[in-house]
Symmetry: C2
């Protein structure tokens, strides 16, 4: 049974989950997907092994009534948080604030194929993954004790993943994490001053500057932020204002799927299948129609390791200029779209 | 030439330093120090290669007038920040706040020996390293444009180090990093409410609970925090109130050296020479006599990798209970002091 503990010196929450140490570690150190089989009989996420996961909570079948599936969502067997406990805060003395490990931790199995990373999936499959995210987000938000829902993906050994089969995760918590608190506060202050959304204005400024914008689709802008923390950090952000991913029109998720898959394919080619994380940064479940926040998807390649300076200070050292890495991404984009491999069209620099 | 850029959505600063990409990567993947030679003719930090580093700014000689040294401090050849530039903030449009990469980045070469990690150094050598930290801290703080000085160490490949020869680093910046801002704000709020130092009160509470305290020396308490972010996170904190490491009585650094070396030796034995970082969390250079902050040394073993959930939310998942890992550290302590290898005496649990 896990618990949530708060550090009194930083207000940062930590999930202490000794059960997580029992997780099996698969052969994810193999970097090349070519070295992985399309089906692994020992993999709990491969078709035929559905009984090796907890009972599924959602699926997209291959066809109506078909027992075969395109996407499955299951509770995480080694869950960091579980729904069957309380949310009361307890104090062990003055400095030792804790809650039982209440929450939801799910796994989105992105495909029946063991060795097809998202970069190589058809657009329709990526769209089904995104629809599953939204479905679970909107289902879980009805529980008002779940105040925040983080959706994220770990790809490749250096990203912290323990299983090779393509999957994403969802963690719903009874607390709003420090990082998001800070982002909400900053966006709220900006709105108080300017009566406009920080992110909407940032999109307009990035478009105007042009140097870091890689591509634009009907609904999304793809860019590398001015203060990218790591080389090739890339954001995909809806051009229209929506605070919450939950309320985003699901008919636009096909457009997002194309942008996401194409960006990941460019990274795959440019950086030789790099490890990466992405996170879907969205509003709290209670503030889905905020005028000041604006959801976005943040892709963070794991090419370098943070060291003592970053751990201590929270200042990042990025050894690449985003203007330079976005130029490389645009060139890669041009070359792949020339080969008919992607649909994303790079913008021409201002 | 590097620059400091601020992310408008988080206020986090990033040092963009393309020159850092040119750093040589030594054979640090070898985990066992036994596999490293005591002297490596290609290592810029080994004796005889003094001309391969920039001119030294400080040294502790083996003896007065001796050309041989015990500790050397040199500017980092691949510095993230340099002193020869301005500190004015510039705005490229509304969202693109930047400064030239002003600051100081130094390397503390901890020993002439290529293969003696701090865990295996004599106490006197560790004390000389700590005296060098303090010497450089107090020298650099006189430049009032340097508002914060971070001292840290990266040990082992997974810690982000690029050179095997034992060394620490110092980075002095014209800005106060977000992480420290938050810690100062929280400690300041606590002081406003309680008229006492958060850390002094925390020390008393940890002592009273006893479960996470590993050892106590004349001047220091060694413990693993209640909300440890990673397994075996360990703090060494002075029992008396000092906001700044710069003003800490240098005659007590011998006591700190013994505590630090003994803790690192326990980690070395218990976790088989793990990769780790430590950071010296201290006040700003302008607030060295604050009643509310309290410097401490934070050791962060790198046994696990942060993943998408931590990157997105800032909530950490720790797969170990600090009560359990500090019990293991105490047992290790008892056994090593029984062999006469360390001087640290574990406390008996309350």
């Amino acid at each position: 049974m896990s618990e949530l503990r708060q550090d009194p010196t930083t207000k940062i929450w930590v999930i202490v989950a000794p059960e997580r140490a029992q997780r099996p570690q698969q052969e994810v150190k193999k970097r090349r997907v070519e070295e992985l089989p399309p089906y692994d009989p020992a993999c709990p996420f491969c078709p035929g092994n559905e009984d090796k996961t907890p009972d599924e909570v959602f699926r997209i079948p291959v066809a109506t009534e078909s027992p075969a599936w395109d996407v499955r969502v299951v509770p995480n067997r080694y869950a960091a948080l579980i729904p069957a406990c309380g949310v009361a805060r307890r104090e062990h003395g003055r400095f030792f604030r804790r809650m039982e490990g209440f929450g939801v931790h799910e796994v989105i199995i992105e495909s029946p194929s063991h060795n097809t990373p998202m970069a190589l999936m058809p657009y329709e499959q990526v769209e089904k993954v995104l629809l599953s995210y939204q479905e679970r987000y909107n289902y879980l938000k009805r529980n008002r004790m779940l105040r925040f829902i983080t959706i994220f993906k770990n790809h490749g050994w250096a990203s912290g993943t323990s299983l090779a089969h393509p999957h994403s995760q969802l963690v719903a918590t009874p607390i709003i994490a420090t990082h998001y608190h800070q982002k909400f506060d900053i966006a709220h202050d900006y709105y108080s001053d300017e009566a406009s959304c920080l992110y909407c204005d940032l999109i307009a400024s990035e478009m105007e500057q042009g140097q870091r914008v890689i591509a634009e689709t009907a609904q999304f802008m793809v860019f590398q932020p001015y203060a990218s923390r790591v080389p090739f950090e890339t954001w995909i952000i809806p051009k229209d204002h929506y605070a919450s991913f939950g309320l985003y029109p699901s008919e636009n998720l096909g457009d997002l799927a194309r942008a996401l898959k194409d960006v990941l394919l460019c990274l795959y080619h440019e950086l030789d299948n790099p490890a990466f994380n992405y996170t879907l940064d969205t509003s709290t479940t209670a503030d889905e129609d905020d005028p000041y926040y604006h959801w976005h998807l943040r892709i963070v390649p794991r090419l370098t390791t943070i060291a003592g300076f970053e751990i201590g200070s929270g200042i990042y050292i990025n050894s690449s200029l985003p203007e330079e890495t976005s130029r490389r991404m645009k060139e890669c984009c041009t070359s792949l779209s020339g080969e008919g491999l992607i649909s994303l069209c790079p913008v021409t620099s201002a």
